[in-house]
Amino acid sequence: MRIDVDGTGCYAYTGSRAMEAGMPTIMFVHGAANDHCVWALQSRYFAHHGWNVLAVDLPGHGRSGGAAHVTVAAIADWIPRLLDAAGVARAALVGHSLGSLAVLACAARHPERVTKIALFGPAVPMLVSDELLAAAKADDHAAFEMINGWSFTAGKQLGGNAVPGMWMTGNALRLMERTRPGVLHTDLVACQSYGQGLADAAAVRCPALAILGARDMMAPVKGAQALLGALADKRTVTLARTGHAMMAEQPDAVLDALREFFRAPA
């Protein structure tokens, strides 16, 4: 569905269903140089199991207009404005990578709007290699190749997709290639410069779920430990033999973790 936020046309995937009053809402927030379709299976499941779904394309990404937000805080403050525009008072938030930081920050800054948060591949700080930043700044295709190489585990670099017939690394690469010039660099800088992670985690009052990939090279498990320590009400699911692209590598496992966590809407 198209949603006007601050005069900018934004897009949110709803699972091909209209929003229904009285149903809880779950919002999915993608990571750097991605869009809503990284949540295709999970968002569609919730849309057909009693939830209103808003799997957004962040400004400057996918089908949304505008410029990419330059800080995690800016994305965190954009989320409630999108909820306002969609007529949603409170929502559960699910984020991946950059999106996980935005969801965390939103829960800290706007607690009245957030029921629960699920963080996929979070890390505080979320360090980005100089080589990747330089390639992204130059809009060099090598940046996408680096992300792809580090996001999928060695085994999954050779395929074995749960989705029949789909070559997952090729698909991930092609999605990133659609990114507008400069947006990946903006996203990565937003990740790298997010300095409020531990303070925001300490301020979160709603239940939190962290889903970690045991072989995540983009946001290693150890990078999430301080964050997890600062969250008051949290649970953690660590997926064995899984990298940063966990929705693609383990779609059923992450869905099952989400189902369990959101079984009783807050």
């Binding site: 091909s16 090598a142 190749e145 395929g159 029949p164 017939g165 789909m166 070559w167 690394t169």
Partner: protein, 434 residues
């Protein structure tokens, strides 16, 4: 962190899409010879049917063995995914039927495999889809043929049988200017010789019966999506409602919203394979996978053998002409050097001097070359196009496709090249005396 490197072609030929079987540890890809798959519970079943979970439901829609092949070919082509089909013809039909229906139009190269020509020229008009055939080398003809209802450009990497080299970059650019995708039949070349997506093509299909499998024992096709074409942006906007508007046949799914990169494949699987049903059998996929494991080795040998045969025939007194793009006299020689640096495949045609009877004598005098309607086998093959693969074409269309009564098509196999030249030499000698 060290900079990651993607796996290379030869490695992907052996491994892409396959993992040791989680149930048994089998290293080879198992043949999942089953029609259906047990659901753990009713919620899981519903989720599989509604594309909320990934997995297999029924082997017409998808199958684990076929899925390995689909991933492997997608990896080798540099695409986002693929669909295995009952034949190359089924792959072509699936591509067309996914994109368009009655009242639409295709612009196609006129240098096509006879079966593709039949589908486009005789069969699809019955379903309201018309095709304009153009000289593949004439970019102005492609441009002039575009109509408001055109939905697809289509050609072969190496045209059949004259080996016209499709100028993929120029034709793709023209197609994209009109908001249209370019579909390429890459059967003759395989991704070892050219990866059409790297030159601008949007969709690729193969008759996997040929070089991909190499053994000539299966019929199968594979349709691959580059994932690059933006179905609802720019000049394409409004042209592809099958992908960009709600589909009542699947819960009002809008495929281009469901997947930014794989809308075409989603619709092709969720409608085309589901409803037309021209799926690939698991055993077929297994056999094609066996072939692809050696694709790089075989294609190298195919091309080297072909170069030997071409050189032999080019100077033979009973041969009027040889059509192979690596020869300086071929009209696409320069383009082939750019697009096909590894070689121009192992199928080519030559024209015999003399009478039709001498042509018959030549074919019947061959011992190693098998006289049959196929190409891309490990064994060398021969056929007379005018009386077989292209016999439904009018004399005028035959001439436009570069086929004469004396045209002989060879598919060069993996035998010792000296044995092949000796076989050809004997047959030419016999023809000369006929």
């Amino acid at each position: 962190m060290s900079k990651p490197k993607a796996h290379r072609f030869d490695t992907l030929s052996l491994h892409a899409g396959a993992v040791p079987d989680p149930a048994t540890g089998a290293r080879a890809t198992p043949i999942y010879q089953t029609a259906s798959f047990v659901f753990p519970d009713t919620d899981h079943a519903a989720a599989l049917f509604n594309m909320e979970r990934a997995g297999h439901v029924y082997s017409r829609i998808s199958n684990p063995t076929v899925a390995v092949l689909e991933e492997r070919v997608a990896a080798l082509e540099g695409g986002v995914g693929a669909i295995g089909t009952a034949s190359g013809q089924a792959a072509l039909h699936l591509a067309i039927a996914t994109l368009q229906g009655a009242g639409s139009h295709i612009v196609a190269s006129r240098s096509l495999y006879g079966g593709s020509h039949n589908l486009l020229d005789y069969t699809l008009p019955r379903f309201g889809i018309e095709t304009t055939f153009v000289d593949p080398r004439d970019i102005d003809a492609w441009r002039a043929a575009v109509r408001p209802n055109t939905r697809l450009f289509f050609g072969e990497t190496l045209g059949n049988p004259g080996l016209d080299v499709l100028d993929i970059p120029r034709i793709a650019q023209l197609a994209h200017e009109h908001g249209l995708p370019l579909l390429v039949d890459s059967t003759f070349t395989t991704p070892w010789l050219i990866r059409p997506f790297e030159h601008g093509a949007d969709l690729v299909f193969h008759s996997a019966t040929k070089f991909l499998s190499g053994h000539g024992v299966v019929i199968g096709g594979v349709l691959v999506d580059s994932g690059r074409f933006d179905w609802d942006a720019g000049a394409a906007r409004g042209k592809f409602p099958t992908l960009t508007e709600p589909y009542a046949g699947f819960h009002d799914m809008v495929f281009s919203e469901e997947s930014t990169t794989a809308a075409f494949l989603l619709r092709a699987r969720r409608e085309g394979i589901r409803d037309f049903g021209a799926c690939m059998a698991p055993f077929t996929a297994f056999q094609i996978l066996q072939g692809i494991e050696t694709l790089p080795l075989r294609m190298h040998r195919h091309v080297e053998n072909t170069r030997r045969i071409v050189a032999f025939l080019a100077v033979h007194p009973l041969v009027a002409s040889v059509g192979y793009p690596e020869l300086p006299g071929h009209p696409d020689h320069a383009l082939a050097n750019v697009l096909l640096p590894r070689g121009c495949g192992a199928v080519f045609s030559f024209n015999l001097r003399g009478t039709r009877a001498q042509g018959r004598k030549f074919i019947e005098s061959l011992n190693l070359f098998s006289h049959l309607a196929n190409v891309g086998d490990a064994k060398s093959l021969v056929i007379h196009p005018a009386s077989t693969t292209h016999f439904r074409m009018s004399a005028e269309d035959l001439a436009r496709s570069g086929i004469t009564e004396g045209t002989i098509r060879l598919s060069i196999g993996l035998e010792d090249p000296d044995d092949l030249t000796e076989d050809l030499g004997r047959a030419l000698h016999a023809a000369g005396k006929a």
